[in-house]
Amino acid sequence: MHHYITEGYVLPNQAHIYWTTMIVLYPYITGIVAGAFIISSLHHVFDKDELKPVSRFAMVMAFAFAMFATLPLLNHLGHPERALNIMFTPNVTSAMAGFGFIYSAYLFILAVEIWLVYRTDIVHLYEHTRYPALKPVYWLLALGVLDISKEAEAVDRRVMIVLASIGIPAACGLHGYVGFIFGAIKANPWWASPLMPVIFLLSAIVSGVAMVMLCYIIIHWVQKREISGPCVHALIETAWYFLIIDVTLELLELINHAYMANEDWTILKQLVTGKLFVSMFIIQILLGSVVPFLLMGAVVVFKQRVPAMARNLIAVGCSVLLLAQVGAMRWNVVMGGQMFSKSLRGFLNFQVDLYGREGLIAGAVIFALPFVVIFVFSRLLPLWGNVATFPKEWMKEEPPVRQPLKGWTKFTS
């Protein structure tokens, strides 16, 4: 841990920053999980059918990021080997202790949902795959049960509806909870706020939608697939809607601090106009909020009159900006809260490391891992559409054409 250069009076133990890159990355990753899941729910539960092309992918993305949500935390702990203490002896009064259980439960719900969505495809691929080596993998994924009869699908559908309904509050809970970890710290005036969980949740949705939108368009460009105009439009609409509520609350939080002008505002004012000026006013608000608000707003207003290419370009550009917005927001909260001392009289000159356990490179590697999982997944099961649109060369023969169960296609395609 570095001893940073300080300005003014910093309490001796606060000349160090205890939470760095990894703790910025952790809410960022869980945010993408929650946001991507909301996208699939909008289709599965709220019947937003335009989102059908991305709903499976959004689920896979949510799962891939959820798999690594704890990695930054483990990498940050002084004793990662004791990490399970949080589940062995959870302290009920700790805002952090619930994480192990909330996270595990959410990961389980997500895994089962994906499993149900893909079960038919798994069984098909087990029966028809061209690669014998993959047969045991599919068998394991099917848990050894090859029953995809109509009756079995009816059971699946019932469970799926229950899980999807539990999944939404679980996703909201997971990320609202992450915000609570910060918002409940009364010792830190920059964090302590009941708005924090709400802001974390809304920005999570923004980042998840942006990530799904970005990957959907880029992958389709690369693979020369057809991009669904209504889908991109619906994604932009969703992102725009949540961005507005998110930024409104973010600004409300800041304005509230300024207007109440408590004892701590003197230093918070210096913080936001000084060390956080670029990451807050330039990246988070101007580039990350105002610009996407205007661009996506144009798409929302002009609807079909926007040419497909322009819409896609706006979607890609705004996705990047929105991801930067949410990244900056996480940075401003997590690091901003540690750049001033609890003496309320001094600042730290924090600099990010490039190398090292909690450096930028380590962060980038962790952030890349979900994409590796998505890639591996795409080699095993169809990311887009269902087994009918699967690469033909993967199978020995065409799968039998099946009459889907009424109301079930929504989930399986």
Partner: protein, 174 residues
Amino acid sequence: MRHAAHFARLVALLVIVVVGFLLVRAKMVPKDFGVKGHFRLSAIADEAAREPRHIGSDACAECHDDIGAAWRAGKHHVPQCENCHGPGLLHTKVVAEDSTRGYPDKILTAFPKAINPGTGIRECRWCHLKTFERPSALKYIVSVQQHVEQHGGTYTSASRCIDCHDPHTAEVKR
């Protein structure tokens, strides 16, 4: 339910994981955890097991009896031996092993912050030099040079407080 075999397997898997977790947990949680509150009771004993490193001036005076007596009788008996000399624990251990060696080098190695007394005026100025924020009721030295010259001495950059004062009694040496 006839067509729910896959759920049966899923539930079985979940049960295995949960039971496995509970078994591991039972093994990993210390027996005395939660006895008196949400913590491991023997952690108190662990903390108590640390050996005090400051042994106290009485202990110092057991061997260094002449200095101890002079210090106690003199007007410099407020600061304890270890304020200037550093914690005595290791010293007593080293001396117990071999009385011919060990002080102060070994202590300085073990406690880098321990003081090698008599190297200058550093230890004295901690308490005696005038600093604006000090309670004004006490008397301090504003400048060493001024103090030396005021009392008819000659000040050089090599001057040390202990040239004139006995550090243990604060008396002026004759």
